[in-house]
Each structure stands twice: as structure tokens, then as C-alpha cells.
């Protein structure tokens, strides 16, 4: 195992962005978020870094305290937030579907920009690289001041779609964008349109595709990197962690390797809310450079997922509560798969149906099954049809998942038929990516 450092010790990385209080509703945990995610990553790899942050005044003492504990070399409060407590409610921490960020009083948020504080910080810290987590603040000031020190500029567009890219002037070093971002949604979730819109403005464009991996576009061409599945505790800030790890590497290093490493470290960030555990994992991962270069992960490009049809076998009947099935369908669509609900698409038989009608429905469902790459059985009730379809799919060597949230499926055959048995929606989505990996 390698022991040399993969990070450029000569870099002084300036992180710019909002600080939020992340409230994870499922786990009832609160955490300093926003720019803190990148700060934690920088601390874990021992990078020299500074932070220019925006936050309400009530948080400043805590922010300064924890930035100091995280080894931040220089920091400044460059934007006073008023009207909003900068609290972010997070509904689905693991991002099985839409995370459901809800910024409290976000519409009332105002920013008192302190350009002089930023200028002083830049002059003191002299960054070689500035990682800008775009938000509702004067981006141009950040670019101009960074350029005054010759810093390379890296911009993450995750939370800000209204960016005047023309105002950048010359291309910046890196633009990061994810399939979860508003800018991606604004461009109809079309990867081609996003690339066309952003690539002219950066030497390197990195499109982060959630559990499906990532791609990097530069003058050298396009490179891919997988995601590395893990037991996801949360997906919040994982992208910012990815950014910081990639930016901290040697710029001359192969982009694909930088992306792989960033993806692996980001996966470690997603496994825990404990910073100590994360630092311990990163310390050990520094010895895995050779392994990270070859480790198999999941690479399922965004646009190819649309061709992966998923059959949802379930009692999708009018008298059955289908909340879990609805959520699964939404989550699959969020990740750009094509789910099918045969009852909704082909119809439902009744006591009045003729034999011919039943045969017609049966054949339509079989035809639909044969078009699908995966079957997910969701036995909302003990429905024989759901299990019959599960068995049929298994006999055809189709990948199958049994989504048994309440652990009520005890039948031996049903449990052994399924390739994966999942208890949570997040598990189902993880398994979907894993089983579909390499099918495109």
C-alpha cells in the first residue's frame, strides 16, 4: 500500500460559502453545514485552508470556535445574514429521493456583504485556490479578489442557478455541478444541455451524478469515475467534500484519478456524522492510493438510466394505501430510471372481467416485464400476484429486489427468490444502482 501524500502541500485553499445549521429530521441530529462540509474534508487531509463565510450573527462564536478546532488557518465573517436563521431542515438525509431541503425563512434572507473583510482575509491568507460554494452573495467580488492573488478558481453551482457566467470573463479552473442541483433542474435535467451551458466557462467541468458516479470534461476529453457504494448515513455535504478533495490534489495529476479519490473520500464522509470517525477513515485511506485507482464502484451515467426500465410488482389497487410505492416511483424517477406500474399502465382485472380480458392483461404485463431490466417487489399486502411476478422474474434471471419494509415476508421461496431484500427506500435505491451497474 502506498504511503506518499496525494495532496499538494503547497496549496492554500480558500473556501467561500454560507454556513447553515443542518437539521436532520430523521435522525434528530443538528450539524453545522454549508461550507463546513468542505472544511471538514480539508481538515481531515491536513490541507492548509481558510474560510470566508456568511452566517447570521448568533452563529459566529460557534463557527469561529469550530473552525479553530478544525485547524482552519484563517477565517472571516464576510456576510451578515439577517431575516433568516440559516437553518436547513433535511427530510431525507440519505437522498433516496429528493433530499427535501427546506431553508427556514429563506424568502426573507438578506445579506449584508462585507467586502473589506473578504479583502483582508485574501490579503492575509494569499490563497492559491479558491473553492466557491455559490450562494446569494456577490460572486464577482470573490472572483476579482481571488484573481488578485493569482488563485485558481473553482466554483460549485449546487445551490445557485442564477449565475451570470458571462461575467466570469476568462474561463475559471473548475465548475462543479450535480444532478441534484437547481441549475440541472432548470436545464430540464438534460446532461447535454448542462455541459453545453457550463463547459465553455471552465477548463474542467465536473458533473456529479449521485450514486451513479461522475464525469469530468476538459480539453483532454471526458473521463469517468465511479461512486463507491457504502452504508449511507447521510448525503448532505458529500458533494462539497468531493470538491475539496479534488481541488486539494496536485493539478497535474490525471483527472480520472483525482475524481476517483474524491469519490472514495466522499463516500467515507457519507457513512458517518462523526468527524473523528471520518478523520480516522481518511488517515487510513491515504494508504490506499493504488487500490482506489482500481477499486470497482458503480458507474451508471445519468442519461443511460432512462433506458433502464424497472417493473414495480405490487398490489397497486384502489383499496390499498400505496404511499411506499408512490415514494419508490418518485425516487426512481428522481434518479432518472424509468419505473413502471403495470396496474396503472395496463389496467386491472375485476370479477366482471372475461377470460379473454384477463389473458390480455396477463400478456400485457408479461410484455412489460420482458422490457424491464429490474423487478422490485413491494408487497404492501400479502398479494399473490406480487410474488408470482417476483418468481417469474427470478426464473428469467432478471435482477430482483424485495422491498420488505415491515419485515412481514416470511415465505422461504419469496425471500430466496429476491437477489436483494431491502428494508428502507435508501437500501432499495442503493441496490438498484448496484444491480444495474454495468448494464448500460
Amino acid at each position: 500500500m502506498s504511503t506518499s501524500t496525494p495532496f499538494d502541500p503547497g496549496k492554500r485553499l480558500l473556501l467561500v460559502g454560507d454556513v447553515f445549521v443542518d437539521v436532520h429530521l430523521q435522525s434528530k441530529l443538528i450539524r453545522l453545514g454549508g461550507v463546513f462540509h468542505a472544511a471538514r474534508a480539508a481538515h481531515a487531509i491536513g490541507a492548509g485552508y481558510g474560510v470566508a463565510y456568511l452566517a447570521p450573527s448568533y452563529l459566529v462564536a460557534e463557527i469561529d470556535h469550530f473552525l479553530s478546532k478544525l485547524g482552519c488557518q484563517a477565517f472571516a465573517h464576510v456576510g451578515e445574514i439577517t431575516g433568516s436563521p440559516s437553518v436547513m431542515l433535511i427530510g431525507d438525509s440519505a437522498e433516496a429521493g429528493d433530499v427535501g431541503y427546506d431553508g427556514i425563512l429563506r424568502a426573507a434572507r438578506q445579506c449584508v456583504w462585507k467586502k473589506d473583510e473578504l479583502r483582508d482575509l485574501v490579503e492575509r491568507f494569499r490563497p492559491t485556490d479558491t473553492l466557491v460554494l455559490a450562494g446569494d452573495y456577490p460572486l464577482q467580488d470573490v472572483l476579482d479578489l481571488s484573481r488578485s492573488t493569482g488563485a485558481a478558481i473553482h466554483l460549485d453551482c449546487e445551490h445557485q442557478s442564477k449565475i451570470d457566467l458571462q461575467a466570469f470573463g476568462a474561463p475559471i479552473e473548475t465548475i462543479f455541478v450535480s444532478t441534484s442541483s437547481q441549475i440541472f433542474a432548470d436545464l430540464d435535467r438534460d446532461a447535454g444541455r448542462v455541459v453545453a451551458a457550463l463547459q465553455p466557462h471552465a477548463h474542467t467541468l465536473v458533473l456529479k451524478e449521485n450514486r451513479g458516479g461522475s464525469r469530468g470534461l476538459s480539453i483532454a476529453g471526458v473521463v469517468d469515475a465511479p461512486s463507491f457504494p457504502t452504508e449511507t448515513a447521510h448525503s448532505v455535504g458529500v458533494g462539497d467534500c468531493f470538491d475539496a478533495i479534488l481541488v486539494a490534489a496536485y493539478p497535474a495529476e490525471n483527472l480520472g484519478l483525482r475524481m476517483r479519490r474524491a469519490s472514495y473520500y466522499a463516500s467515507m464522509y457519507a457513512t458517518t456524522f462523526s468527524h473523528d470517525s471520518f478523520v480516522d477513515d481518511v488517515t487510513n485511506a491515504r494508504r490506499l492510493e493504488g487500490e482506489i485507482a482500481t477499486l470497482r464502484g458503480v458507474r451508471l451515467p445519468w442519461e443511460r438510466r432512462r433506458d433502464l426500465h424497472v417493473y414495480l410488482a405490487a398490489p397497486d389497487f384502489p383499496h390499498v394505501r400505496t404511499d411506499a410505492l408512490d415514494a419508490l416511483e418518485r425516487a426512481l424517477r428522481y434518479h432518472n430510471f424509468t419505473p413502471h406500474r403495470p396496474v396503472r399502465e395496463n389496467g386491472i382485472s375485476s370479477a366482471q372481467s372475461s377470460a379473454a380480458q384477463e389473458t390480455q392483461l396477463y400478456r400485457a404485463d408479461i410484455e412489460l416485464l420482458e422490457q424491464c431490466a429490474l423487478l422490485i417487489a413491494v408487497p404492501l399486502t400479502p398479494d399473490p400476484g406480487t410474488f408470482a411476478e417476483l418468481g417469474w422474474a427470478t426464473s428469467k434471471n432478471l435482477p430482483t429486489i424485495l422491498f420488505d419494509a415491515t419485515e412481514t415476508v416470511t415465505n422461504l421461496f419469496a425471500r430466496r427468490c429476491a437477489q436483494r431484500i431491502c428494508k428502507t427506500l435508501s437500501d432499495v435505491i442503493d441496490s438498484t444502482f448496484e444491480l444495474m451497474n454495468g448494464l448500460t
Binding site: 450539524r31 462523526s274 468527524h275 473523528d276 448496484e434
Partner: protein, 114 residues
């Protein structure tokens, strides 16, 4: 740091064992084309001793037969976290819990941390 489950920010430290300390029950992948099946023309019997190889094989974490050191199959990618555990000095040993050749070559393993 800056994480808490209580009334103020603090250093969140969950108690209890880590995932490295958890046993593993997994259905191996790539069994049919594995070194073991290819050379032995059979899957290992239930009860055969197995262990995780401490190094990757073609980018995968693999289980090998303890006697012959032949690879039986790969762990699914969701077990990639074990690479860190192996780096930290953990080893994993156990046995074949199920195996079959029909309808497909399949081997399930149970492994405990050592």
C-alpha cells in the same frame, strides 16, 4: 465537529462497535468464472473455510478458500468499506453457508472479524 444530537453544538461521538466489527453475510458475485470453480469444476461445499483476501483482486474484494487460497468470488460493491477495515488490520474468516450450481453457480458466505 460542529455536530450534536442534543441542545448545543459539540463533537458527535457515536458509541458502540464500528461496521468493521460486524459479521458479514454475503452472496458472492462472479462465482462461475472464479479461480476455484474453474480449477475444481465445482463450488465449495457448505462448511468449507473461507477468508477475505487482504488485497484487491482485479479491483474487487474477494473471498478465497482457506485451504487452497483460490478465489471463490467477489463481494458485492456495497462491501467496499471493508477495504478500509482491512487497512486498519481487520481480517475476516468464516465458512460457506450455502452453495449451489443450479440454476446458477452461487456461493453464500458468513465471515466474522478477527
Amino acid at each position: 465537529m460542529g455536530s450534536t444530537g442534543t441542545g448545543n453544538f459539540g463533537d458527535y461521538r457515536p458509541s458502540g462497535a464500528t461496521r468493521c466489527d460486524q459479521p458479514i453475510d454475503a452472496e458472492l458475485e462472479d462465482v462461475a468464472q472464479s479461480e476455484y470453480v474453474t480449477s475444481m469444476k465445482a463450488v465449495p461445499k457448505v462448511g468449507a473455510l473461507v477468508r477475505l483476501r487482504p488485497t484487491l483482486s482485479n479491483g474487487r474484494i474477494v473471498a478465497e478458500d482457506s485451504q487452497t487460497a483460490k478465489v471463490i468470488g467477489s463481494l458485492p460493491t456495497r462491501y467496499n468499506y471493508l477495504l478500509l477495515c482491512l487497512t486498519k488490520g481487520y481480517g475476516y474468516e468464516g465458512s460457506v453457508s450455502a452453495s449451489a450450481t443450479r440454476p446458477l453457480h452461487a456461493v453464500d458466505v458468513h465471515l466474522d472479524p478477527i
